[in-house]
Symmetry: C2
Subunit: 429 residues, 2 copies
């Protein structure tokens, strides 16, 4: 972990630079996969399963028996823990419901706005080294609250054609029974374009590797929405002279173990404290099973010493971290002032792990600096807001002449005429 | 206008097919423009202004004098009409504010969510045949309500280096004083990457031609968000045996006059009524100044006869129109059931023009079938929602063991350790 101090404003972006995805290189690999699924449908999907997941799939879908069997594999204690997480996530996302907006904007002009569920959504759950059942909860719960008609979950199988049972258990717990055994760009293509057995969806959610990320961005050109552009996971931990170095070290490591491209940044008001944190990292690292991953991630990580509150805020907002952990005395004050961040963890007893699993907030958050313009996934991500308007005769008489004048000023006489013809019809009223 | 009846469900998409944008072709033209602006900055921008707008720009920015002068050019009556529109749009968008969400999800676990303005936004206003000052209102008003720090407006100048005075007046009225004389893909590049004189923004809004549309999608890969993917404007007008054919015709024409690629669809429960509407279109067309545009747009348009409410709803949701005009007796019932639509116009006295200018709803809406997953622009489009969590000692003791178990089940021991180390620190409490 490199330590920087007195970083000038124009150097900050350089110090905090993230590794950039070589979009064109990945695009060259992903585009033919998308094309093949578009043309070949299920047959292409099975071929890719053989090629990438080393499994000959008879059926792309998880059977009812497989879903049931998952309940027997997951232990009772884990089931109870999943229930606690589910309850908290449900509670916080239920509270995000908004009432329909209805108002008479001016006499006779009624406008309203209502939230309507997106009909068909696809949730992508990566496979690989960790079974991310927590992501099933984070995407599935708001999808259920929103009331989406059709929820498809896609996750890559192992070479026996099985999806991790905890992932299946979490899906079934939420009533998500349409689960397909597909991973990678081909899974994204199947949900974006549809095949004989996979229905086309309206919006695709979920994290993934660079192929999944690029596939999502490419299909997003063709009438499929995506949750957000993605990048490697990130944490920024902010400490002062009084923070517990061991807490900060554990938070930085919990991010570093995610993947070798994980982004880990320490911000400290004290050089001494930063050095203590770095020492603690080295100590804690030795006991970590995913040590080899964390070590590589830490090589690219930085610590920045800041000399004022203003500099601290500037470092945070310039970077725009996915997760911001404030191990500070004045954590509340700083939390109230930051602008570019996905989710904020306040005080000594709130490690990122709480948000990752069970505090109730969503863990699908903007990475790669996207926190400057994107929000994390929430109930809103599964809804559309439609506006409605109804103008009465009275409203037409009052607002009609205004619209006529505005349309004429834009040289749109057809727009004006749609009003004029209606106003004329009222002349005999 | 071609008339279809008894369209089978699987043929519907074919009948309602929209012209598709040749993304790759346009990308080949746009990519070098983006690159040149990225590398050449202001000099490249001035060169493009000379090449495309045929004007030698000394200053890219509209001066204070130009903004002031616009007030003298716009007549008092138009000013009053703009004021009415502004008031209605302001009212409906102010009402979209939501209170911060705060809750104790379980004892000692506090979660909250707050709306934070996106700091820097860029509004693109097309030039061309019509001065779209209404779009200045539709984008500028929610940006002001949200409280964005920096609002940049970009619009192409004429060959005298001037932007339409009504556009400037509307901008100044909203307190938007940073206006740049730039159009096309180069304007999008300037706001996305920043140049010596144009600041980089976090999100770009606004309609435009295919070059602008593709430029927005391309820059959206690089840490600039966009409002939504765009396509030609659309209307679907639904009539029954009792609807006024002349009203329907005027609404279809007000869309057709937008551009030769405008999409115009009539849905009718009665073949007779559909034929009447088509006759009225021919009659009304003769008086329209933009007749040549509307005629071309109408060539690609269709009328669909439906035989049941179910079929009607299926046609509407399959198409997913930007604007849906319900000239129906049971307009309210249908409005309550449609799912894929940008904005709904209910009843005989609510032409699309009202929403385009002054009812209060936003006119920046999803086109090209994106209504299946996107909402129109609203106050939300200028905000991010950040989540916060704070866990007390009590909360840590209660929820900590749950998170430990969940992290372990995902094989993420670093995540578990961030909790364990904190739980251990409480043992002496």
């Amino acid at each position: 972990m490199k330590v920087f101090e007195n970083v000038e404003a124009d150097k900050l972006n350089q110090v905090l630079e993230r590794p950039s995805l070589n979009f064109s290189r990945v695009e060259k690999i992903v585009t033919p996969i998308l094309e093949k699924v578009k043309r070949g449908g299920d047959r292409a999907l099975k071929k890719f399963a053989l090629e990438y997941d080393h499994v000959e799939l008879k059926d792309l879908w998880v059977s009812e028996e497989e879903l049931k069997a998952a309940h027997d594999v997951v232990g009772d204690s884990l089931k109870r823990s999943i229930d606690v997480a589910k309850t908290n996530i449900l509670r916080f996302h239920e509270a995000q419901k908004v009432q329909p907006l209805e108002m008479e904007v001016m006499p006779g002009v009624h406008c309203s706005r209502r939230s309507i569920p997106i009909r068909r959504v696809g949730l992508y759950i990566p496979g690989g080294t960790a079974p991310l059942f927590s992501t099933v909860l984070m995407l599935g719960i708001p999808a259920r609250i929103a009331g989406c008609d059709e929820i498809i979950l896609s996750s890559p199988p192992n070479n026996l054609g099985e999806i991790n049972p905890i992932v299946l258990y979490a899906a079934d717990l939420l009533g998500i029974t349409k689960v397909i055994k597909l991973g990678g760009a081909q899974a994204i293509a199947a949900m974006a374009y549809g095949t004989e057995s996979v229905p086309r969806v309206d919006k695709i959610f979920g994290p993934g590797n660079q192929y999944v990320t690029v596939a999502k961005q490419l299909v997003a050109r063709d009438t499929v929405a995506i949750d957000m552009p993605a990048g490697p996971s990130e944490v920024m931990v902010v400490v002062d002279g009084d923070s517990k170095a061991s807490f900060a070290a554990s938070d930085l490591l919990s991010q570093a173990e995610h993947g070798i491209d994980s982004q880990v940044v320490l911000v400290s008001t004290s050089r001494e404290k930063a050095e203590k944190v770095i020492k603690k990292i080295k100590k804690q690292l030795t006991d970590l099973p995913r040590k080899h991953i964390a070590e590589k991630a830490l090589r690219g990580s930085v610590a920045i010493i800041v000399n004022s509150k203003k500099e601290m805020l500037n470092v945070i907002d310039s970077y725009g971290p996915e997760h911001l952990i404030l191990l500070l005395k004045n954590a509340h004050e700083i939390a109230g002032k930051v602008s570019n961040v996905g989710s904020v963890f306040i005080g000594p007893y709130t490690p990122e792990s709480f948000g990752d699993y069970a505090s109730g907030t969503n863990h699908t958050l903007p990475t790669n600096g996207w926190a400057n313009a994107y929000s994390g996934v929430s109930l809103d991500s599964f809804l559309k807001k439609i506006t409605y308007q109804e103008v009465s005769k009275k409203g037409l008489k009052k607002l009609g002449p205004v619209v006529q004048e505005l349309a004429e000023a834009e040289h749109l006489y057809g727009h004006k005429n749609a009003v004029s013809i209606r106003l004329r019809s009222l002349q005999n009223d």
